[in-house]
Symmetry: C2
Subunit: 155 residues, 2 copies
Amino acid sequence: MRGDEDAVIAFPTPANDKAALEEGSVFSPRFDADGLITAVVNDAGDGKLLMVAHMNAEALSKTLTTGIAHYWSRSRQSLWQKGETSGNRQRVVEMRTDCDQDAVELRVRVEGLAATCHTGRRSCFYRIVAMRNGSAELRHDETKPLFETKKVYGK
Amino acid sequence: MRGDEDAVIAFPTPANDKAALEEGSVFSPRFDADGLITAVVNDAGDGKLLMVAHMNAEALSKTLTTGIAHYWSRSRQSLWQKGETSGNRQRVVEMRTDCDQDAVELRVRVEGLAATCHTGRRSCFYRIVAMRNGSAELRHDETKPLFETKKVYGK
């Protein structure tokens, strides 16, 4: 998946037509009030869920034209190429969208140490929510960090 | 995963402490400005991405106490037990949360025909986003609907 890297894709406004949205071949992502769409990122190899992030139109366009995943950081309010600092960049093998086009799935191959989470782990979903005595608590799975965050990010 | 079905879980306010949020065992989901958290729903068997939805505190609580997935419908503005009409209910085998606790992953076993999408398909992500001549278009994968929507939903 790779297009002209400098091009900016102008996504069409979503049709007010349920059948077209759900069964059509026009990609008209439904950005929310903040101009964002949800991106679910899975490993293209074993399908494991790695992270959930958000994309604005620019991030989505750059992801499609470069084949490298870009996101919008809500906390930093800026475009962000995943792995730019850590080396754990994501090559997009396949992108999909859902029935009502308000989310995308990215199937990626992660470069470097393949640690997607900023905590150094392969996946951001390393804790299980478990009920105990009527309340919900978290239990770590066996995943150990693949890198030391201080060495990579300097903090 | 099953607790007291009538109990409502009072989720603690997220700590303003990155280490506690990321490495702690307190489940303090970070609901957004609309009171929602993103839920990524995968098949507990093969890990396939089935759908993306949203949960408010009540939906999250009900999911944890009943072991059946509940969501908040943004379009209908109401609590929604997935599969209540179609029979394709989701039994939660495992729930996880991510590093900053603003998303959950549900690993589910789908009942009935196991068609999660309201279009009758197993997954909502049945279309691939492909670049052609500088623009993005959608291509259906091979998935055929498992039920006829008119028969199930009457519309």
